[in-house]
Symmetry: C2
Subunit: 421 residues, 2 copies
């Protein structure tokens, strides 16, 4: 069994990444693409826009691997030093690329703009690099080769980087390196924690076939379990991965909602689509996040009719028909209120299911009886209403997101149990 | 002027980070905290849950800096190898921490659970480490010291890591290292691109006082401009940073909506609060994201009344009173429709302003006349309605987010121009 794999290192560049002004999402995106391509990302490094640091990062990376992917530091402003570090490392000068400048002119023209001097500077590019057309932005990607080594530099703006990668990089890598795909199967679960799941599948994990591994990935109210394998012959490895994933799934069946990074909202959307069922939401504390989660799925207009975000009590009574007496007697954050919200939104929007949320998202607004993080949710369907009380954190955004996920998990259970199905 | 600063390296651990299954947000959070504390993050590295790789990353980091912060790899499952790498590097064994185990029991008890064997294994901890209590989870933080060097290891779950950092780390760092705070001022801008802004402030950038630097941080329909400085005497540096930031602001005034990472939605919320104005939204293509953006701000219930997410045409007519003839004649994605949506939501919710969106978020649903990314937005206020047509990308989520940001920018302009103010 041959397990040797092409390894790469990803270097992301930017003071703003290192100092945390922005979260580096490029390296995660690249990691996923490279993983699927069969390139093993050995490590990721982020350094500042300093020529010396970039140079050193390239040097260190090439001590460990033959393939380096870099993003960032190619913008038109003065703090972008990547080009200079690359010219120094690969020992070349820059020259004016008329083709690149022409493309910049066309691109800016679409927005009614003309190039600035900074844009002109961007068209000066290292003459030892193969330029990789950027169809969405001003800075092209660049490919450098020395002996067996290859370095690819791309701009840091995510959609530009993604376009350049997609257009050029898999081909460049495949023709230069041997790549052996990794086979993996991810079980998407919700409703049980990492430790408990690990306990349920302990026997399988203790007796894994050679070359296979299991990774747990806890998320907000969700855990992904990834079974991976690589080696030759490819068919046999894939088979083993599938067998192991199936064996795990049999042990934790109720918690598995999907596979291979399918988001919960997409899995639930699939269920609704298949069964031709519809959904509406009535949100107080989630403030639209639940509807956003549902509508982040392409094609959700087939099953999602709409939502009433009833942030004020006035909207709860006027648009959702929650009784004033209910709000007065039990308060907006109560089981009775979410029952009326979910039932009424279902009736008013004419949907099969209605989801409702009301709670104290925080950080302020708590009372001794209803502390911050007290949240009621309800799901109304043809056979009645089910409610849950959640006692969450002090963090507003975590509470909002967690509540939306639990709503989707409750809805999924409701759909699967419904007599409609 | 003394510019020497304590430098650190952040190492985040996890196969799931390197392979891109999750986006590493911990290192960004730590970067911001350390920056503010006056520690210069030199670089960030992410490695897999492999003892050898973790060991090597520690070794390499200590060649460059004296302070290393690590997150991840302390979970109860079998793929977490950080503890072993640390014991090997610092040359010690593990022993059972009764105190930690007792805390795990209490913590799990809150959720009606009892510890598993995996949890018991978590209580075996390196005997050369100072344990740092984790009030939110099972794995404590650890502090290792050798000579002048310090390494801090924390779990990878963000809220646990943040709690341990906040409770222990600034104190540990301050008593061990000299830290010199960096002063910075960030101008938050929307409505103009990075290149144009750079051009407007070129003269300032070409004549920066010593020790000062400017960084541009482009985001979705926004650009942050950060002016930083460090050195002694502290007061003088701070003064220069402020002077430079003011000078820049004077040149790009209309685009500056806030300072120091204040989100646009929060700046707009502040305006609404101060002027006692209220807002409602009527969303089609943004599907709740705009309401979510508004309600992600603590205290937004003071000015945000609610929203109607009118995904189906039925909801547009029934709940928002959009005329059937308008939908028939112009279509749901049209200037006329968003005008009615924004005006009607304003009237029905009794708010000062109404924002509306309708468009083709994609990836499907486009036509030659209205391709994917065609989006109409409207803002209705006491003095009338203003609309915008956006021609965005093929990416559903980018279109949704971009549209929400442009809506907030339009609302801000509307509020500032309004005679109500």
């Amino acid at each position: 069994m041959q397990n040797k794999q092409t390894e790469c290192i990803i270097i992301t560049i930017g003071e703003e990444i290192v100092s945390g002004l922005i979260t580096d999402t490029n390296s995660a995106w690249l990691g996923r693409e490279l993983y699927a391509l069969g390139v093993d990302v050995r490590e990721k490094t982020s350094v500042k826009d300093k020529e010396e640091h970039i140079y050193q990062a390239i040097e260190e990376a090439f001590k460990k691997v033959s393939l380096v992917l870099m993003t960032g530091g190619l913008g038109p402003t003065k703090d972008d030093r990547t080009k200079h570090a690359l010219m120094r490392y690969f020992g070349c000068a820059d020259s004016f690329s008329a083709e690149t400048y022409a493309r910049i002119e066309v691109l800016l023209g679409k927005f009614g703009r003309t190039p600035t001097e900074a844009h002109r500077q961007q068209a000066f590019l290292p003459d030892c690099a193969e330029l990789l057309e950027n169809r969405l932005g001003t800075a092209p990607g660049m490919c450098f080769r020395v002996g067996e080594k290859m370095l690819i530099s791309m701009p840091g703006i995510p959609y530009e980087m993604e376009a350049i990668y997609t257009d050029h990089i898999p081909g460049l890598i495949r023709e230069t390196f041997e790549v052996m795909p990794i086979y993996h199967r991810i079980l998407m679960t919700a409703g049980e924690g990492e430790s408990r799941l690990a306990l349920m599948i302990r026997d399988i994990e203790d007796n894994l076939p050679e070359g296979l591994s299991i990774a747990y990935l806890p998320g907000l109210a969700q855990v992904r379990i990834r079974v991976s394998g690589r080696g030759n012959p490819a068919g046999r490895v894939q088979e083993r991965v599938e067998e192991t994933a199936h064996a795990i799934e049999r042990l934790i069946k109720p918690y598995v909602f999907g596979y291979d990074n399918e988001p919960l909202e997409s899995a639930v959307g699939r269920l609704l689509s298949e069964k031709r069922l519809t959904l509406g939401t009535a949100e107080s504390c989630t403030g639209g996040h639940l509807a956003h989660l549902v509508t982040s799925v392409p094609g959700s207009s087939a099953y999602f009719m709409g939502s009433v975000i009833a942030y004020s009590n006035q909207v709860k009574t006027d648009l959702l028909g929650v009784r004033a007496s209910t709000l007065e007697k039990h308060g907006a954050v109560s089981e009775q209120t979410v029952i009326e919200m979910s039932s009424n939104v279902r009736a008013r929007l004419g949907t099969d299911f209605g989801l409702a949320t009301s709670g104290i998202a925080g950080p302020g607004g708590g009372t001794p009886q209803k502390p911050v993080g007290t949240i009621w949710i309800a799901c109304a369907g043809p056979e009645g209403v089910e409610t849950r009380k959640l006692s969450l954190s002090k963090s507003r955004l975590i509470n909002i997101r967690y509540t939306s996920v639990v709503c989707m998990t409750l809805l999924r259970k409701f759909i699967l149990q419904s007599e409609l199905c």
